[in-house]
């Protein structure tokens, strides 16, 4: 009997020691991992870290509202062959980014201004004016990749500072969209209006534009296009002839963007990396009056 009690005490003692060792070992090893995890979560932006399907649905529905307003301001340019081509290039490039849960959609806007827009959830627009300024498919891919990066990094969502109780940018939006009262609808519509102003008039934060330039360039390089394409395109449209109508109010100065991009290309050994520009197929598909 005494032996039995002794064994049970010994067992209990050893279990406690085991637990202690496990906790200590885990704690010691995860101290640096915890710091690392915290850094990674900050670096990964809000959305990439543990975004739920509800968050993404909210993002899509919000983006759809914004898309309707973009198309309300600039009409849809209807050309089936051209639209299909833009979607093939855009969707293909999007597969080299990190939002596999989104369906990206692309449309051409019937305006001579040289610009492109991205709405959350994957609604991407490029203007007729921008297409006319391009010389090859790698430049098209680069512009679309820049816009895809805005969506992938949730720039608009974050800039609207929509915060939920768990500090996720889209959790608040999901609550608003799921809300059942008219007051909530007003809030939602106000959010959409703010987003339109941001996109069309004020512009996103400079850093977001620089990030989209960098990420867009990396994306097209990964897809196999000429890594310098965005740099070349921006340089080209920064010296417009009298016939082009460029709006730079929504972006940082070309000088800043070009110098940052030049540095990124250099630091990543991409300046001399030769990859195709794909000109022939571009010319076959882009025929705009």
């Amino acid at each position: 009997m005494r032996e039995l009690i002794f064994n049970k005490r010994l067992l209990l003692f050893l279990i406690c020691i085991t637990s202690l060792i496990v906790v200590l070992v885990n704690g010691a090893m995860s101290d640096s991992a915890a710091v690392e995890q915290g850094f990674r979560q900050r670096l990964d932006q809000v959305a990439n870290a543990e975004s739920t399907a509800e968050d993404v649905k909210a993002e899509i529905l919000f983006g759809r509202q914004l898309a309707a307003r973009i198309l309300g301001r600039y009409q849809l340019y209807k050309d089936d062959k051209l639209t299909r081509y833009i979607n093939l290039v855009g969707k293909g490039v999007a597969q080299y980014s990190n939002r596999p849960e989104l369906v990206f959609r692309f449309a051409v806007l019937d305006t001579e201004i040289v610009n492109a827009f991205a709405a959350p959830g994957g609604y991407i627009f490029v203007t007729k004016g921008a297409l006319k300024a391009m010389d090859n498919e790698s430049e098209l891919a680069a512009v679309l990749a820049h816009e895809i990066a805005h969506v992938a990094e949730r720039h608009i969502v974050k800039e609207l500072k929509i915060k939920g109780s768990d500090d996720s940018s889209t959790a608040g939006m999901a609550r608003v969209i799921g809300g059942k009262f008219d007051a909530v609808r007003v809030v939602f519509t106000q959010m959409v209006d703010n987003a339109v102003e941001l996109l069309m008039e004020k512009g996103l934060k400079k850093q977001d534009e620089f990030d989209a330039d960098r990420i867009g360039t990396f994306t097209i390089a990964g897809a196999g296009y000429d890594p310098k394409a965005l740099y070349v395109y921006l340089k080209k449209i920064s010296t417009p002839d009298k016939d082009t109508n460029i709006i730079t109010g929504t972006h940082p100065s070309f000088e800043d963007r070009l110098s940052k991009l030049e540095l990124e290309l250099k630091e990543n050994n991409l300046t001399d990396k030769i990859q195709p520009v794909v000109k022939e197929r571009f010319n076959e598909n882009i025929k705009i009056k």
């Binding site: 060792i21 090893m29 399907a53 597969q95 596999p100 959609r105 969209i177 050994n269 195709p276």
Partner: protein
């Protein structure tokens, strides 16, 4: 004696199990993710992982992770990986289709129907007249369905020609 040995085995196993958490898995999100010899896009490719595959994180440097992939070691851009496996497509359609209220009119586009089911149809959403809206054109955008595999093949055909 047997009891002590059993407990010691459990202790050893627990330590091993918990220590294996230090080498975290990262999952590839993009259709293809090059693994490079150095943390620089212009460096040589040592391998290429595909969407959904796991790589073992060994080290972090700026925007790059040093990873183990199969029998190779190299660097992968943090833009292409996530600590969770890639999510399947998120659609606003399925849930709304089930919860469609009888009063919601069926519309040409399933997306508009889905939005309507959540009370976000254009007529009810137009509390503000600040901006003109065009949902018909949004529906035209949404009607074009191109499979991602086709789009990836299209790109690869263009750049590998």
């Amino acid at each position: 004696m047997k009891m002590i040995l059993s407990v010691l085995s459990i202790m050893g196993l627990s330590v091993m199990l918990f220590s294996s958490r230090c080498e975290a898995d990262l999952y590839v999100q993009s259709v293809r993710a090059p693994i490079l010899s150095e943390p620089s896009l212009g460096s040589a490719k040592v391998a290429e992982a595909v969407k959904g595959e796991a790589v073992k994180e060994l080290e972090k440097s700026g925007n790059w992770y040093k990873v183990g992939y199969r029998d190779k070691t190299g660097w992968i851009s943090r833009l292409l990986v996530n600590s969770n496996p890639p999510a399947g497509k998120v659609s606003v359609l399925e849930e709304s289709a089930e919860k469609l209220d009888k009063t919601v009119r069926k519309r040409a586009s399933a997306f508009t129907t889905a939005a309507a089911a959540r009370g976000l149809a254009e007529d009810r959403a137009r509390i503000s007249d600040k901006f003109k809206v065009d949902y018909k054109s949004v529906e035209i955008m949404e009607a074009l369905n191109i499979r991602e595999e086709e789009a990836v093949r299209f790109i690869r055909y263009g750049v590998e020609k």
